[in-house]
């Protein structure tokens, strides 16, 4: 599960590679490589454009034809971009919200998934179907009543609305993912522990969770990603500039310095950097998580 490598037994999709097929088709294989390269170039251009722009002096930005290699390279664009607005503060805010949300989502989805995977109780199937159905809910239908609820609790402009719901179930995607994971662990583990006098929650805590680390990691990184990237909900509940998370800060930056493209691109790159780093470290988990649940990225 940890590696993103497809299994070695995998076969060519379009046709089984018989010997004849392989011998015959080095042209096809070249074509496939060229296609993949062209596609990769197209996918990379926006990134390169962002990075290139972020390092240019202002006067080189408005230039045709565009210059890809910035000359001179202005590293201080990054320092300027990150100091004209309190990005350090936004980073801290984002990390605070994200870390607590991730913890909440891992804990609650693991416990709930365990209940659905391992414990028998009346109504389990119907409740699980309801859980799956909520994946299809456009959450915006709930945002106005929730805003009103949080307003009456005096939670607007605090991080509670961003964090607390994550401790109550978190996300149906994560529950589903972990349930599938628990189902792959042998039931004998639970039975043996039960005979030793373990209660159900000790079985979860001491036996299943340590085995479920790959699944929990997948949940953790998706949870990190979603909470780090979230825009609409923080936009609604956080008004104070001091409370802003990174996406709100970036949006505010643009409102003020709209056409400073080099600084805006520098800030955008820095805002993406944590996600890019996490992605490169854990990409196998991303692939696995999506393959299991079809969760959006």
């Amino acid at each position: 599960m940890a590696t993103g490598n497809p299994p070695r037994t995998m076969k060519n999709t379009i046709g089984l590679p018989s010997n004849r097929y392989q011998l015959l088709n080095w042209t096809t294989r070249t074509l496939i490589h060229l296609l993949a390269l062209a596609g990769a170039a197209a996918f990379l251009v926006p990134f390169l454009w962002m990075i290139s722009t972020s390092l240019k002096p202002m006067e080189k930005i408005f230039q045709y034809p565009p210059q890809w290699m910035p000359d001179p390279i202005l590293w201080r664009n990054y320092i300027e971009a990150l100091t004209v607005m309190p990005f350090g503060l936004y980073f801290r805010n984002s990390i605070y919200v994200t870390v607590l949300s991730v913890v909440g989502q891992i804990l609650s989805s693991a416990v709930v998934a365990y209940g659905f995977a391992r414990l028998r109780f009346p109504g389990r199937n119907i409740l699980f179907i309801i859980l799956l159905a909520t994946m299809m809910l456009p959450w915006q239908v709930t945002m106005i009543p929730l805003f009103i609820l949080y307003r009456s609790l005096d939670w607007i402009n605090t991080y509670y609305p961003l964090i607390v719901p994550n401790f109550l179930g978190g996300s149906p995607f994560f529950i589903f993912l972990l349930r599938q994971f628990f189902l792959t662990l042998p039931l004998e583990l639970d039975e043996a522990a039960k005979l030793d006098g373990c209660g159900p929650f000790r079985i979860l805590w001491q036996i299943l969770l340590p085995l479920a680390v790959p699944g929990l990691t997948t949940v953790a990184i998706f949870s990190f990603l979603w909470n780090w990237n979230e825009f609409l909900w923080p936009l609604i509940v956080l008004n104070d500039i001091d409370k802003w998370t990174i996406p709100l800060g970036l949006n505010g930056f643009r409102d003020q310095y709209g056409t400073d493209w080099n600084h805006l691109m520098a800030a955008s790159f820095v805002a993406s950097l944590p996600v890019i780093i996490i992605f490169f470290i854990f990409q196998g988990y991303f692939i696995q998580g999506i393959a299991t649940t079809g969760a959006k990225g």
């Binding site: 993103g4 046709g15 915006q140």
Partner: protein, 320 residues
């Protein structure tokens, strides 16, 4: 401690005796533990999903400007949006066009990429990383990048088009091209679909291809008769999730176009947001939100229904 067989035996005896099967002590303990385990989700579902949906329905029957008390006005909000509000219909139109173009095109594109990634390709892992990366970075940052890419004079896109001696459109600054621009941009983020399809492709057993080859099927026939039917459950799933997600488009329009120019990108969620949080028409915004809810529900169910005719499930006779 009694074995499971003994429990089953007891339950069978009770059934035979015409009694309702009662839970044994152990089973009851397990059930209680089960309810405790799922209680965080159940509470969250009731508090953060079910109650708000019902509340939204109630609020949609009121005029509520947040600072004063809500005033009951029956179906007037729905009457207004259906018959008097051109912006509502504009937002429906724009959203539906976005969904209609974005979903099929991104499905075809992500399937093509998945097929490509499933070939014997040197550096497959690196390619997959490159294709998938755009789908993970923050949408706000993506939006900033693409505002600059779409810049009519100095953006990379029109610079590229100029190589062919043509002047590109004004993209997000033109009421005609803003919506296509957002659709094009969304295609940059097809990586998620690619990964879903790739997982589906790798689940297709090789012996099916062997059998088809022995029967004389060529590449194209194998794709049509083996790959597509075997992949159809995954396709259904990806399409439904993509439709649901596409209906919720907000961030790009909020940041890049502010719904413009001339409301050309006034998506439904953006219109809901404005009504609720810029103009504080909570009642009307809730009515709009309910429309979103119902539209998404109906379309998802219709798609799931239609799947009987085109989704192939292994082990079912007469499928495909």
């Amino acid at each position: 401690m009694r074995s499971r067989q003994a429990q089953v035996g007891q339950a069978a005896n009770e059934l035979a005796a015409g009694k309702r099967p009662r839970m044994s002590g152990i089973a009851r303990k397990e059930a209680i533990a089960g309810y405790i385990a799922i209680s965080p989700w159940l509470l969250g579902f009731l508090i953060f999903q079910l109650a708000p949906i019902l509340a939204a329905f109630y609020i949609s029957s009121t005029e509520w400007r947040i600072l004063s008390a809500p005033e009951f006005i029956g179906v007037r909000n729905f009457d207004k949006l259906l018959f008097k509000d051109d912006l509502f219909w504009q937002s429906i139109k724009v959203t539906v066009i976005y969904v209609i173009f974005r979903v099929p095109v991104s499905a075809v594109l992500s399937l093509a990429l998945a097929l490509l990634m499933n070939q014997q390709l040197a550096g497959r892992r690196l390619f997959r990383t490159i294709y998938y990366l755009p789908a993970v970075i923050p949408l706000v940052a993506v939006s900033m990048m693409w505002i600059w890419i779409f810049n009519p004079e100095y953006g990379v896109l029109n610079s590229f088009i100029r190589l062919f001696g043509v002047e590109g459109p004004q993209w997000i600054h033109s009421s005609r091209w803003a919506l296509p621009a957002l659709i094009i941009m969304s295609l940059w983020q097809v990586g998620t679909g690619m990964v879903i399809f790739l997982a589906g492709l790798q689940g297709i057993p090789a012996h099916l291809y062997e059998a088809a080859t022995i029967d004389g099927a060529n590449t194209w026939q194998r794709f049509l008769k083996v790959t597509l039917p075997m992949l159809s459950p995954v396709v259904l799933f990806a399409l439904v999730m993509n439709v649901i997600g596409s209906f919720q488009i907000f961030t790009q329009a909020y940041i890049m176009t502010a719904g413009g120019p001339g409301n050309a990108t006034l998506f439904l969620v953006l219109y809901i947001y404005r009504n609720a949080f810029e103009w504080f028409h909570m009642g009307y915004a809730s009515a709009l939100a309910w429309v979103l809810f119902v539209v998404v529900l109906v379309i998802s169910l219709a798609m799931l229904r239609s799947s009987e005719h085109w989704v192939h499930y292994e082990g079912r006779i007469g499928g495909a």
